[in-house]
């Protein structure tokens, strides 16, 4: 499947782009992270500590074990600081 991957705040800066399309067969968010980390040093550095990173699958906050079947958009970002 093709997934749109979005990055925000310092994750966007470390990746060097706000979004990218990836072809993947990852079953879960954790699988996707493993694939991205294996891709290059930039991804590896940006996604090295997933405890400091939040994930949304199709714009819903999700966990590392969330399934990706049917998903179109996955976003990675730091803990939110709104308000």
């Amino acid at each position: 499947m093709t997934l749109e991957i979005l990055y925000f705040a310092w994750l966007r800066e470390r990746i060097g782009a706000p979004r990218e399309s990836v072809e993947t067969s990852a079953a879960t968010v954790a699988d996707l992270v493993a694939e991205l980390v294996a891709r290059d040093d930039r991804h590896a550095a940006a996604l090295s500590d997933m405890r400091a990173i939040r994930v949304a699958v199709d714009q819903e906050l999700s966990g590392l074990d969330s399934p990706l079947a049917g998903a179109r958009e996955v976003a990675f970002f730091p803990p939110m600081t709104g308000g």
Binding site: L6, F8, A9, Q59, L61, P79, M80, T81, G82, G83
Partner: protein, 143 residues
């Protein structure tokens, strides 16, 4: 119910025109950029699409949970100078407890679950991304 996500300044008086008609209690909370430690401005990034959806869902959840007759959330993004309002929530209910609690609840949620990220802008330009605070997370756990 009204949810606005926008870069522009908002006119609180205009947004609150007629808000809470028929209610006994209206609470508003406004967050402003505080000029501390040489801060000149905040740059606020958000997640277009998710932001509006998440704000709407939580305004609805607050309305249902606290029996609100009306709720308003407005949150800005982009470049905000010191002293400018960042966001406002308003809640209307029959009694004051519900209006207070709903506004408090919405703020706790906004602080740590709404997809906004603040970056500090100093006299030399962009500085650090604001770190999430543990006590914001703790505040949310109260509900």
């Amino acid at each position: 119910m009204r949810v606005l996500v926008q870069p522009q300044r908002f006119d609180a008086a205009q947004l609150l025109q007629g808000f809470g008609a028929g209610a006994g209690a209206v609470v508003t909370f406004t967050g402003l950029v505080r000029g501390e430690d040489g801060l000149v401005a905040l740059d606020i990034e958000h997640y277009p699409g998710m932001t509006e959806k998440a704000l709407r869902a939580h305004a609805e959840a607050a309305a249902a949970r606290f029996g609100l007759s009306d709720v308003l959330v407005v949150h800005r993004h982009g470049h905000l100078a010191v002293g400018e309002p960042i966001m406002m929530v308003a809640t209307a209910a029959r009694h004051r407890r519900a209006a207070f609690d709903a506004a408090d609840f919405l703020m706790d949620w906004l602080k740590s679950r709404a997809p906004f990220w603040k970056r500090e802008i100093g006299p030399e330009g962009p500085g650090d991304w604001v770190a999430a605070r543990d006590d914001d997370e703790d505040a949310l756990a109260r509900w």
